[in-house]
């Protein structure tokens, strides 16, 4: 269970999150939508522990722990996963060993035995097949020279290997063609389970054709201005974000909105 109360965050003195409230229960999938600049990526990065953002107020409780007090690496080890909008290239480090180091960091924390090379290889190859990645990518440097779609698949591969308790997907659908989008969605759907929570951040509704959320939230100017079921996403698809008032107040559904 993730519980965000009145979260406020800024970067370089510029206030971005201005009192955000959100509750995500175990087993739930929440979609966060909103126009560019509304604070979607900031929310993802603050939750994952990026320290270039200054938390000015509010609290985040995660399974009873004070999430904001934990360094980024501890959050990861405890089961928080952020799929990056722009995965970073790391030349000189093979993807295989990067994945193994990440998986074993999490397993050590969970007091599970670390994988040896053989067991890990068997596991990673099976997961690669599921996300449609060829084994060649194991032996290449992390994300180096990967296309946009390949980088996103590599994020999905990491997510499935790390078996997070809370996964946040930051615009994972951007830059993907429809086939890649389906593969990403399948990866997410396979992860759905009663003990796992997912936050899917997206600008477009189309990903939600394949990942059906329990709740949809609209983020505007650093606050959640409207929440609803999946029909809210369809409404946004039809009317865009223009109906969200300039001051970010919560409007009624505009006249003519799909019922």
């Amino acid at each position: 269970m993730l519980e965000i109360n009145n979260l406020q965050a800024s970067v370089e003195g510029k206030s971005i999150l201005k009192g955000l409230d959100l509750k995500v229960g175990n087993g739930e999938v929440h979609a966060i939508m909103g126009p560019n600049g509304s604070g979607k990526s900031t929310l993802a990065q603050v939750l994952a522990g990026r320290d270039t953002f200054q938390v000015e107020g509010g609290s985040v409780s995660w399974d009873g722990q004070d999430l904001l007090a934990m360094p980024a690496e501890e959050r990861a080890r405890a089961g928080l996963f952020l799929a990056f909008q722009y995965p970073v290239e790391i030349p000189g480090v093979s993807n295989a060993y990067f994945l193994k180091a990440a998986v074993n960091a999490v397993r050590r924390h969970r007091q599970l035995p670390e994988f040896d090379a053989f067991d890990f290889l068997a596991r990673v190859k099976a997961e690669m097949k599921a996300v449609g990645m060829s084994e060649e990518f194991l032996y290449r440097s992390v994300n180096e020279g990967f296309s946009g779609g390949e980088k996103k698949r590599n994020e999905m591969l990491q997510m499935s290997l790390l078996e997070p308790k809370l996964a946040i997907l930051d615009e994972t659908d951007s830059g993907l063609d429809i086939d890649a989008l389906k593969i990403v969605a399948e990866g997410v759907n396979r992860l759905r389970s009663p003990e796992r929570s997912l936050i899917v951040i997206t600008h477009y509704q189309r990903l939600l054709d394949y990942i059906v959320p329990d709740q949809v939230h609209v983020l505007s100017k650093g606050r959640i201005v409207r929440s609803g079921g999946r029909e809210l996403a369809l409404e946004l698809e039809e009317h865009g974000y223009g109906w969200i008032g300039d001051t970010g107040e919560v409007p009624r559904a505009p006249a003519g909105a799909a019922s």
């Binding site: 690496e73 995965p87 970073v88 790391i90 000189g92 480090v93 060993y97 180091a101 960091a105």
Partner: protein
């Protein structure tokens, strides 16, 4: 003391015993060289090409031999040359030819030259100078260079060089295995002057490693200063393919002044990998000149300095003839209060049309006090050329750091990994896997947290 007149006196005391002293051309060259050195003195900031690296301090620098009455403790501090060599050879299981020097002199008992193809000659320079038959003497004379080459430290080297390697490859001869030239410091000789000559005739091929190992545990409480001057001259004939890897890992108080001088014939391919990890002050002057059309050169460099150490690479690529291509990539890791200097000059002559030159220098600063100077200098007199250059000085990228931390790696380990990854690009250009592994081991020996990184760096799962 290292004041100029002391070097001159030293020269006169030694000149009669230097190898080849009986050769008039060499005696004359040495005399002119020491006169030039006496005249110019050590380069200071006022001299062109030395703006960032003054050797004025050399006037007052002493190179005292360690106290020979020393107790057993200091004996342990220096690894025996044979131990150093055994360590190197154990790390290089692949076949190769080993020409070993201790304290600036050929060590025949440590050397192990395998079977070379007909037409390949590999010996010490001293032995080559002693040869009267088979044209070696005149080949050495032609390849030796002159007292006017380079700056004053190169002149001092011309005057005092007592040994080095001599490699001659006749037309079309290819030596498959790497040729390792290992220059092990000697606990008693504090100065050494080395000159390596490589003559590769048309179509010849070889890979040379010029290695200055760290001398193992030679990091006692107060290690004394040492001086190495080294000049390596390579003549690559038409269509020759020569690779030169230099690995400089000298001890903490070492001063290392080196020159690599290359002439490239038509269609020849030359690659230089200059890895500078040791020494208190290391200066490398690397020059290559295209003497025929269609030549290719790669100048690849990687340096790491920390503490108060200083490293300087000055390169010159002389596109004297048309249709040649040059690729130059330097990367620096600079920590502590250290300073890294790179100056890359590319000259394209007026009739060197269709020259293709690319140069990059990227520096990673690992502390606030670290300093990098990167200066490209392009002089282009031809009009139909492709020339590109770029230089960067930066710190570890925040996005990359966060990415690794978000996958459970702690911050220190993530930083170490990114530092390694920055340097790895230079290592990747070393074609022979055995040499690449060796370069990587040398890099990791300099970086913190290497043990924890090793699981991330295996090449094959």
């Amino acid at each position: 003391m290292s004041a100029i007149d002391i070097w001159v006196r030293d020269f006169h005391a030694r000149a009669g015993q230097l190898p080849g002293a009986q050769l008039p051309w060499l005696a004359g060259l040495r005399q002119r060289a020491i006169e030039r050195f006496a005249d110019e003195g050590w380069p200071t900031r006022r001299r062109e090409n030395w703006a960032h690296t003054s050797l004025a301090f050399m006037e007052g620098q002493t190179f005292d031999a360690p106290d020979t009455s020393a107790d057993a403790a200091s004996e342990v501090a220096t690894e025996h040359p044979a131990t150093t060599l055994a360590r190197l050879r154990a790390d290089n299981a692949e076949p190769g030819h080993w020409l070993v020097f201790v304290g600036g002199r050929h060590a025949p008992t440590l050397s192990a030259i395998g079977t070379l193809p007909a037409g390949a000659t590999l010996s010490s320079l001293a032995d080559a100078l002693a040869q009267k038959a088979d044209g070696t003497a005149s080949a050495v004379e032609q390849a030796f260079g002159s007292s006017d080459d380079g700056d004053s430290p190169a002149a001092l080297n011309a005057a005092l060089a007592a040994d080095g390697a001599y490699l001659r490859l006749a037309r079309g001869v290819a030596v498959e295995e790497p040729i390792h030239l290992v220059f092990i410091a000697d606990g008693t000789e504090t100065t050494r002057h080395l000159r390596n000559l490589v003559i590769a005739e048309a179509g010849a091929q070889a890979t040379l490693v010029e290695h200055y190992p760290d001398g193992g545990a030679n990091t006692g409480e107060n290690p004394g200063a040492t001086l190495t001057t080294a000049v390596t001259r390579i003549e690559a004939g038409a269509d020759a393919r020569i690779t030169h890897l230099k690995l400089q890992q000298e001890a903490e108080q070492a001063i290392h002044l080196a020159t690599l001088d290359v002439r490239q014939g038509r269609g020849s391919v030359f690659a230089s990998h200059s890895l500078s990890f040791g020494a208190r002050l290391a200066r490398n002057d690397i020059r290559t000149r295209f003497d025929g059309e269609g030549g290719e050169v790669l100048l690849n460099g990687l340096y790491h300095v920390d503490g108060r150490r200083h490293v300087d690479h000055h390169t010159l690529i002389d596109h004297a003839t048309p249709r040649c291509s040059s690729r130059e990539f330097y990367r620096g890791l600079i920590d502590g209060n250290a300073r890294g200097v790179f100056a890359g000059r590319i000259v394209v002559a007026q009739d060197a049309q269709r020259s293709d030159a690319m140069q990059r220098c990227d520096n990673l600063l690992l502390s606030r006090q670290a300093e990098a100077d990167a200066r490209p200098e392009l002089e282009i007199y031809a009009d139909d050329v492709k020339c590109a250059h770029g230089a960067t000085v930066g710190q570890i990228d925040d996005d990359s750091l966060f990415y690794l931390r978000s996958r459970g790696l702690d911050e220190v380990r993530a930083r170490n990994l990114l530092t390694y990854a920055f340097a790895a690009e230079a290592l990747a250009r070393i074609e022979l896997p055995a040499l690449r592994r060796r370069a990587r081991a040398a890099l990791l020996a300099r970086l913190p947290g290497a043990d924890a990184l090793s699981e991330l760096l295996e090449e094959v799962l």
